[in-house]
């Protein structure tokens, strides 16, 4: 009775916080309301909805031995405590995605994005992660691709694999672009990030050669060196001799990252990739805890309006109306198809009890959503004028701070040129104008929160700390992503000619790595050269592709439900599936065919052709822009086509099973009684 009353009060508190958010329009309110509304909703959803899923829909059974118990090998199949596994899973799923998306979507104001982050996760993202983790747990920890193949057939499995590869290429390009925008003309940032490479190699030798297996001491040493590199960056930036050596244009940094991605994919993992992974994991967990602490201590006021005028589609950061683009821009944090790959990787092999899957799968995703809410807070604590100065493309703002201030005032926000210049000086940069991509504005927001919570005066250090932490794990994603892409390409090529499929054969390694790097590198360079800033066209493509992967995962989930005779509960995955399809197909269609040249790729190509014909644009440059627009259009169409094909092939399977023309049987591992007591 008492606990019911508690839950009722919690639900009311959450509802009240939403009420405050909805009613206090046009005045500044505290971030506390945002946090309270989110956390209240999470707790109620976790207590009631996830329990419904666990008990009624999935039938989690603690009498049934998990793969970790049955196949325990003391290495990857290891029964692990629920809390430790929660940390492990969270470290695996949280990355740059939930931080960048909300910052970009803040151009609509903080409210639309927050509503999507919180309700999207509760009904969509957390359900997806939970059901894939559940399915994989019942199948000895099989991957999403293997499950897709087993439950439907090799063609669907192959389609899913091609889709993942294509998504990886776009994902790596857009994340690399975020780093380029943060590091261009920033000697401090470039120095710190360059230092992470020798630090990682040092750690690699430490753990393999000098003190084999001593991963924790090597990581501790690595973190200390990283902090020294961060502090040292300031001296580099202030030195007239050293600063020019580390000051580079976006294009140079882009080519540097492409070369780095290739080398990292070819080198043995112990040397670079694995130590980087450890380093970025510790930095990630530490910084996210610090950010949560900063926001909870400070509870800063939100300067951004709840809803801006840009919901009409005229926003400077990316084009398109609130629907569908708010739901595309925020992918990770609300629902992320990529998680389905991670949910079916290491985590299911470590669950001690079946019921733990609820805490890890559903609960872990709620935690990631909370990270997205914090990113939204960090963007919304900025003065909106500053926010748009950092994020809008240079072509829109005008070349100078004076022109930028005039443009931004034209949008109805007050900002002076002196403010923009003073802020850049305070964080130790020449300019903050048009550093689109989320990382720099998040870093300014975090620097503001940290210096407010932990003492003033270290603004520049906190800014570069935040930049370093984001660039560090984006580069780690580039390492691992290029390597995973390489493996997938090798496996696909192996179907054509056997030796190409051997992942340790050097000619195959080099060819596949070069292909993957060329793939994302092309889109990266195109993004750097794009007059609208690249994020404008690439981020929506990434959002669409990630949501489409979510559609694939939700299809697998629905199949599991229907085949196990739970068709009456299939709405739990069909509902988010319908929404994700609606949003992505609408967005994809608009990106390709919209008549507004800011939004539609083909309309932009037509406009460029017209400019060339009128003689206002250099023909060679125009031809390149037109080619890229058409390429983006083809990519978007291909994504949509693959998705429609995948969904249709699965829908056919569902109909066959439901009309009893195909047996309703799932490929679960047989039941074994657990030996654990209690």
């Amino acid at each position: 009775m008492l606990s019911r009353l508690g839950w009722l009060l919690l639900a009311l508190a959450g509802a009240a916080a939403w009420g405050v958010l909805a009613l206090h329009r046009g005045e500044t309110i505290s971030a506390a309301w945002l946090v309270l509304a989110a956390v209240g909703t999470y707790l109620v959803a976790f207590r009631f909805y996830s329990r419904f899923l666990a008990d009624r829909v999935f039938g989690l059974n603690d009498r049934r031995a998990t793969p970790a118990e049955r196949l325990n090998n003391g290495r990857d199949y290891v029964p692990t405590s629920r809390w430790v596994l929660f940390g492990h899973h969270f470290a695996a799923i949280a990355g740059a995605g939930p931080l960048v998306g909300p910052v970009l979507a803040a151009q609509f104001g903080y409210l639309p994005g927050t509503i999507w982050i919180v309700f999207g996760v509760v009904l969509g993202g957390a359900v997806q992660d939970f059901i894939i983790l559940f399915g994989s747990m019942r199948r000895d920890g099989k991957s999403l691709g293997q499950m897709a193949k087993e439950e439907t057939g090799p063609v669907t499995g192959l389609l899913a694999m091609v889709a993942v590869l294509a998504i990886m290429v776009i994902l790596l390009a857009v994340l690399a672009l975020v780093v380029v925008n943060a590091l261009r003309d920033s000697p401090w940032g470039v120095f710190t990030i360059l230092c992470t490479i020798p630090i990682a190699i040092l750690m690699g030798y430490w753990m393999k050669v000098w003190r084999p297996g001593r991963t924790l001491e090597a990581s501790a040493g690595g973190v200390v060196l990283l902090m020294l590199a961060l502090v040292g960056g300031r001296y580099v930036a202030e030195s007239p001799v050293l600063a020019p050596l580390f000051t580079h244009s976006g294009l140079t940094i882009a080519y540097g990252m492409i070369a780095y991605g290739f080398i990292a994919s070819v080198l043995p993992v112990w040397m670079l990739l694995c130590p980087r992974d450890y380093l970025s994991t510790f930095m990630k967990i530490g910084t996210i805890l610090l950010l949560a602490l900063g926001i909870l201590v400070l509870l800063p006021p939100l300067q951004m309006p709840a809803i801006t005028r840009f919901v009409d589609g005229t926003g400077p950061i990316f084009a398109g109306k609130l629907f569908p683009f708010a739901f595309i821009t925020i992918a990770c944090g609300a629902i992320s198809g990529f998680h389905a790959l991670v949910s079916s990787g290491t985590t299911p092999k470590m669950l001690t009890r079946e019921s733990d899957a609820r805490y890890i799968g559903y609960g872990g995703m709620l935690m990631e959503s909370f990270v997205a809410v914090m990113a939204m807070c960090a963007a919304a604590v900025l003065d909106p004028g500053i926010y748009f100065a950092i994020n809008a493309p240079l072509a829109t703002l005008g070349g100078s701070v004076e022109a930028a201030a005039v443009t931004i005032r034209g949008w109805g926000f007050t900002v002076s040129p002196e403010q923009i210049t003073a802020l850049a000086g305070a964080v130790g940069e020449q300019s903050l104008l048009s550093r689109t991509g989320g990382a720099p504005s998040l870093a300014v927001g975090m620097a503001y929160i940290f210096s407010g919570a932990f003492g003033q005066g270290l603004m520049a250090l906190w800014y570069h700390f935040a930049i370093m932490f984001e660039a560090l794990f984006i580069l780690t994603t580039i390492d691992t992503g290029t390597r995973v892409g390489r493996f997938m390409l090798q496996e696909l090529a192996g179907h054509i000619w056997k030796p190409l499929g051997r992942t340790s054969w050097y000619p195959s390694i080099i060819a596949a790595s070069a292909l993957v790097v060329t793939g994302w590198g092309y889109f990266l360079v195109q993004g750097v050269l794009d007059p609208l800033g690249g994020i404008n066209s690439l981020w929506p493509l990434f959002g669409i592709s990630n949501q489409l992967l979510a559609a694939v995962a939700l299809c697998v989930g629905t199949t599991l439900l229907i085949k196990s005779g739970k068709a009456r509960y299939a709405w739990i995955t069909l509902l988010p599936l319908a929404w994700v399809l609606l949003v992505t197909l609408t967005a994809g269609w608009q990106k390709v065919f919209a008549a507004d040249p800011r939004l539609g790729f083909l309309a932009h190509a037509a406009l460029t052709a017209q400019q060339v014909a009128e003689g206002v644009l250099d023909p060679a440059r125009g031809a390149r822009l037109i080619f890229n627009d058409r390429l983006d259009a083809v990519v978007a169409i291909a994504f949509m086509l693959v998705t429609v094909l995948v969904v249709l092939s699965w829908a056919r399977e569902w109909v066959l099973v439901l009309t009893r023309r195909k047996p309703a049987r799932v490929q679960e591992s047989p039941f074994v009684e657990t030996a654990y007591v209690g």
Binding site: V84, G97, G213, T215, F338, L341, S344, T477, T480
Partner: protein
Amino acid sequence: MWASSGRALRPAISGLLSAVRRIAGMPDYAAHLEHLRRCHPDRTLPSEREFYEEYVRARYADGPTRCC
């Protein structure tokens, strides 16, 4: 007094360190040895270096381990 409290703390500290390792996806040599001794007493035990190399190779060999 110090010695005795240090001894009492030791299991707690090694438990904490092994939790940190597992969260970061690092190999846990001690746990692996214990598993081998218990379940496969006939096998020869790998050195820490052998175990580390094999673990790292296998961990990054297939599928993404981290999300975007």
